[in-house]
């Protein structure tokens, strides 16, 4: 045990003995759920697996229920807005521009649950969950080391400092993400403010009789047009691009560090990690590619062997042709035949010797290897024209 980190060993013991394993699982589950909820669209969407399952369902199905969820979430805030808008427009007011502010600014806007989940509440939930994760690790670590947790930003050092360094990195990453989320949220607020300005500008041109707004739905549709227009302008700005990238990148950094912490703990407990599985997948994929390439391209040694055999066949053909020519038939035929027989016999011997079991050449094998005439006969009738 001397090669093990005593603090980690203690931590692992506490982990099991004090029922902390369950707490740990709860934290992982809750953290993951929070992350999944944060990463998904505001109303949630089915995973590919859910979709596949649902596609084989002929009765009331998951997508229909999900559509219901989506619709209800979208409609609830619209219905709430409708109620407040009805009360507002029914009451006599002198300043319609002020009225627009009341109807569409802040929490009273019809899309008050935020632009695609990246609002303050979403960011706060995300950060709160990761802080809970961080705190749980700091407590466990502090308990094991019988020491107070260090404040984020303070540097750790010494043997067994890895967990502490990880926690500190996570705390820093969370702080950076919170900053990035706030910058993003500020842009969303600016987008909403600009939408209201656009709306006021458009409405100011609709004061003539016959052009005025008579229905809340028409007013809502006009607001949607203005909101999307203002959002598009902001979303295509350089400032947004930087803020958006920073928000996503910092969020992924938090998740990356959480994975590293999980893997570290799993390694100490002898549990296979995501990296292990991923590494195997990568190796398997590389092997499949090699196999496929092997199927399409013949190996070089076979190509050489094939070329040598082709040369031999060409030589034999030449010799056969020569043996059939009228002038040389009488004179050369015996020699050629003998040469062919000799060559085939040599090949046959070579073949038999090449077999490991033929080191001890039996009489039958030896006889077979030197029975050249029948093989020569088999070669002789082949017509070169057909071969070519």
């Amino acid at each position: 045990m001397s090669d093990e980190n005593p603090r980690v060993t203690k931590q692992a013991d506490d982990f099991f003995q004090n029922g902390a394993a369950k707490d740990y699982q709860d934290i992982v589950r809750k953290s993951w759920e929070a992350f999944a909820a944060y990463m998904q669209p505001p109303f949630g969407t089915p995973s590919a697996e859910e979709a596949r399952r649902s596609s084989s369902t002929s009765t009331k199905s998951a997508p229909v229920n999900l559509t219901l969820d989506h619709a209800l979430a979208g409609l609830k805030s619209y219905a709430d807005w409708l109620q407040s808008a009805a009360a507002s427009v029914s009451a006599p007011q002198n300043d319609w521009q002020q009225q627009i502010q009341q109807l569409f600014a802040g929490a009273s806007q019809p899309f008050s649950h935020g632009f695609a989940g990246a609002d303050n509440a979403g960011a706060k939930t995300f950060v709160d969950q990761w802080r809970a994760w961080l705190n749980s690790h700091q407590k466990a670590d502090a308990s094991a080391a019988n020491a107070k947790p260090q404040a984020p930003g303070a540097s750790g050092f010494g043997f067994g400092n890895d967990p502490h360094a990880q926690q500190q990195a996570l705390a820093d990453a969370i702080a950076k993400h919170l900053e990035a989320a706030q910058r993003y949220q500020a842009l969303m607020q600016r987008s909403n403010a600009q939408a209201i300005e656009k709306m006021q500008a458009r409405l100011s041109k609709l004061t003539a009789p016959g052009q005025q707004i008579e229905s809340l739905k028409v007013l809502y549709d006009l607001w949607v047009d203005c909101a999307e227009e203002a959002y598009a302008e902001i979303a295509l700005s350089e400032e947004f691009r930087e803020a958006y990238g920073e928000m996503v990148n910092t969020q992924i950094r938090v998740r990356q560090l959480q994975q590293e912490q999980t893997e570290y703990l799993c390694q100490q407990l002898g549990i296979p990690t995501r990296s292990d599985v991923s590494s195997l997948g990568e190796r398997l994929h590389a092997l499949r590619r090699e196999m496929r390439q092997g199927k399409t391209a013949p190996p070089a040694d076979h190509a050489d062997e094939l070329a040598a055999l082709r040369r031999d066949v060409a030589l034999l053909k030449e010799q056969l042709l020569a043996s059939r020519s009228p002038k040389s038939a009488a004179k050369k035929a015996p020699t050629t035949k003998a040469a062919v027989a000799k060559k085939v016999s040599r090949l046959a011997v070579k073949k038999s010797v090449a077999k490991p079991s033929s080191r001890k050449i039996t009489k039958a094998a030896a006889k077979k290897s030197v029975v050249s005439p029948p093989r020569a006969k088999r070669v002789a009738p082949v017509k070169p024209r057909k071969r070519s």
């Binding site: 979208g74 549709d221 990356q256």
Partner: protein, 356 residues
Amino acid sequence: MKNSPFRMDPSKIMDEVSAFQRKLASGMGLLRGARQPEYANTPRELVYSEDKLKVWHFKGAKKPTSKTPLLIAYALVNTVWMTDLQEDRSMVRNLLEQGEDVYLIDWGYPDASDRWLTLDDYINGYLDRCVDAVRQRHKLAAIDLLGICQGGVFSLCYTALHPQKIRNLITMVTPVNFQTPDNMLSHWARTLDVDRFVDTVGNIPAALMNYVYLSLKPVRLNQQKYVGLVDILESPVELENFLRMERWIFDSPDQAGDAFREFIQKFYQQNGLMSGELEIGGRRVDLGQIKHPVLNIFAEQDHLVPPDASRAMATRLGTDDYTQLAFKGGHIGIYVSGRAQREVPPAIHQWLRERD
């Protein structure tokens, strides 16, 4: 109110609110009891499969009149059934009626085992073997290829790398210039640390992809369309069509991690088709090698692939036979709108027949 843009009668407003609530209350019951609508399911047979991928051969009411089969390569995001969504809105069915012999690559749903698939695997591997399978079935040296969106990008790369296997190339809503000023997806993707993203997340969850697409028009796509739904809840046909589209939108595959990484880096971040520096599987993709007849169809109101992103194709191809068709509609409307049914398949068929 003097000079006010509002002329709202309180009693009419109260009627409007109560009518909305009444429709909502009765309609939600219908929505809750609704069954999942089927896609068009045009008769088809499986002619090739590999891993999660399938190649379908569609059967029309009459025999094809075209001599060359047409293979459709859809995008990896979303499912291929947008091309065969519902009986009266099916691009596949309309192409069959025109006389085309239609094949479709269904890429399937990648899982963890597909995490390491690259663009080389998709383009020089899967797509190449699908093309070979159709070529062998018809004993042809070359076939017609129709690429859609990301599938169009794959088709361009494939045709440049394997020119001898393609006779005519059609692209629909296919970007070539990924960095036009109005491309919001590209704008956001450029600062993404995609290496860390894929290393951490692995395969990209479909829900996350949908989240990004919905973020392009957050109010319209997350709320306004559901407000509009209330008005059609009592119409069974319209409700079914709405639910079918919802099914398609959210029935999306995850994205193979490495292929996603490469696609973001090489196309969105490096704009490789425009710079001419794109390499797939170690081979440079030169669109100048495409000397084939090319029909490029794009949508004028496309918020995912802006028209200029597609128009840029004309400046990069090596062909003298380039035709461009601008469709009045959006990225999805180009397949399922009434106008699309009347205009797009006949245009494709006529263009192909002139070159068959």
